[in-house]
């Protein structure tokens, strides 16, 4: 069953246009001119219950606008959105009890007070029963290892500690859908792992649907099976992450170690990245030459080790951002 449905969802902003110079400033006072910016253009897709979807795209592609429409913050210009069977705009308040949102660049905690105070406030805001709140807080405190700093003012916390608290704040009311807008931005590797583990556990144990936007390829690769790439307000790619990796770049990176000195024969579609007398690293364009053919041409008796890697996710995403419109 679909948890989120977007049907030709569009959002157009009206932006005031001001020309340079004093005369244009005066003119805009008398007769202001506006231009329309289509941030999201007839976007349609569905997200199943329990699915973890990566919603990615370059800056200004329309990711945040879409999230804000789905959480009821923004009114769509046209089209429909349905989240857990509710209209996000008309039933925003009911919906807000069922969804959680983490905006990586925006804190929802009281800056001068300990996170515990914000959590207590949120338990009242979400009308969570006291026992339930205590249980939930304990679970999240354990999962996110918050115990040490629950009593420290938020302003004294490190970014990693604060973001962990942001997650706890968004999860106190046990939302069915979690909207994550660049949740791991600026975090170190350890905290990123903790956050990813938490998201995976929530998805597995509580069936939480995750709608993730991130510029971190690691988030996409580690968490999501499916990715939608949005560019200039349109869906450019909608496919499984695995398929995206397999199909999109058509590239494999092969590292070989030899028992004796050797070199690789030139072959069309093979690009040598690094070469030493006993090792070679090269990429294979599988559209030009199948990987099997390249490997068949190797002297297997002289092979000490072989590693075949897929290109990093970052590279795939960068390539899609560059050529997104050509892919479908």
């Amino acid at each position: 069953m679909a948890a989120i449905i977007l049907d030709n969802l569009s959002k157009t902003y009206k932006v005031k246009v001001k020309g340079e110079g004093f005369s244009n400033t005066l003119r805009s006072l008398v007769k202001p001119e506006y231009k329309s910016v289509e941030a999201v253009k007839k976007v349609s897709f569905a997200v199943d219950e329990g699915e973890m979807l990566a919603f990615i795209g370059p800056n200004g592609a329309g990711k945040s606008t879409t999230i804000k429409m789905l959480t009821g913050i923004l009114h769509p210009t046209s089209g429909e959105a349905e989240v857990l069977g509710l209209n996000p705009v008309k039933e925003r308040k009911i919906l807000s009890y069922k969804i959680g949102a983490v905006f990586g660049q925006k804190s929802q905690l009281s800056f001068h007070l300990p996170p515990l105070d914000s959590f207590r406030l949120l338990s009242s805001v979400y009308e969570i029963e006291k026992d339930l709140y205590e249980k939930r807080l304990k679970r999240l405190t354990d999962l996110l290892e918050l115990g040490e700093f629950l009593d420290s003012p938020v302003r004294k916390l490190s970014l990693g500690q604060r973001v962990r608290c942001e997650f706890a704040a968004s999860l106190l009311h046990a939302p069915k859908i979690l909207f994550l807008d660049e949740p791991t931005i600026g975090l170190d590797v350890v905290v990123k792992h903790k956050i990813r583990d938490l998201i995976k556990r929530l998805n597995k144990e509580e069936g939480v649907t995750v709608f993730l936007t991130s510029h971190d390829a690691g988030d996409v690769e580690n968490l999501c099976r499916r990715a939608i790439v949005i560019d200039h307000g349109c869906v450019a790619v909608d496919m499984s992450v695995k398929k995206m990796k397999y199909d999109y770049l058509n590239k494999k990176v092969v590292s070989l170690k030899f028992s004796e000195q050797a070199s690789l024969q030139d072959m069309k579609g093979v690009n040598i990245l690094k070469s030493t007398p006993y090792a070679v690293k090269f990429s294979v364009d599988t559209r030009t030459v199948p990987i099997g053919k390249v490997l068949a041409g190797l002297d297997s008796d002289n092979l000490a080790d072989i590693t075949i890697e897929e290109p990093p996710m970052e590279e795939i995403i960068a390539a899609i951002y560059t050529n997104g419109r050509e892919v479908g």
């Binding site: 009206k14 945040s64 923004l74 009114h75 807000s96 905006f103 929802q108 001068h112 914000s118 009242s124």
Partner: protein
Amino acid sequence: MSKYLAMAGISIKNSLVYRANVTGRIIFYFVFIFVFFSLWSMVYSGNEIAGYSLRQMIWYVCMTELVVFCSGSGIFGIMNHEVKSGEIAYQLVRPWNYVYKQFASMLGNITFSALVFTLMAIILGMVFAGPLKGFNAAAIPFIVVSFLLSIAMNFFFLMSLGLLAFYFEENGPFYFIYQKLLFVFGMLLPIEFLPLWAHGILRYLPFSLITWGPAKMVVDFSYGYAMEIIPLQIIKCIGAIALAQFVFSRGVRKVNVHGG
């Protein structure tokens, strides 16, 4: 309701962090009262002006300034900033009424400072003017209700003006005009100082009901007056709430302009 009480509670805690801010405003309050004391001492040569003795006049200013200092919680600036920066959008993911949430937050924020300012107002009134003749303690509940209504009314009007940022790129002039109207029609002068025809009109306008209404109740209390002013304040307060809700609910559709 409990969520708004919790919001007020957390705002009280937050406000205690900004104690230096309250101290600064107390000094400013003292300067204001001193300036008005000096001004009215110069103006008063006879016994009374428009029914007010000098002593009543000093107390009157202490009270009108008290309303303004208590309700001047910066809501206009907060709204202006939240709308223009798009931060208002992040508040909308919570299951609360944004207008009431802000009100609860303001009540929490001013609780501590209102107690301090009330104490200051009484001390300064006693020092600069002396005890009010014929002041009846039975008037206190009416005065408190009238003050709370004034603060609420002022808050919702200021919030509405701040929310005009949804519609206007520069909404500062509205705030400027409102502040000046508040200053002239009730804060600086009791409306009885104005011509009779103007007095008749101003009695029913929100500006004077915010400042003149409760201050007059302190310096010249009568049950008849309380029964006239408090219902008027309730009506205007309901109107101010409706206005803030209306401006917000219409404006929130435009949040896209600034939200991104």
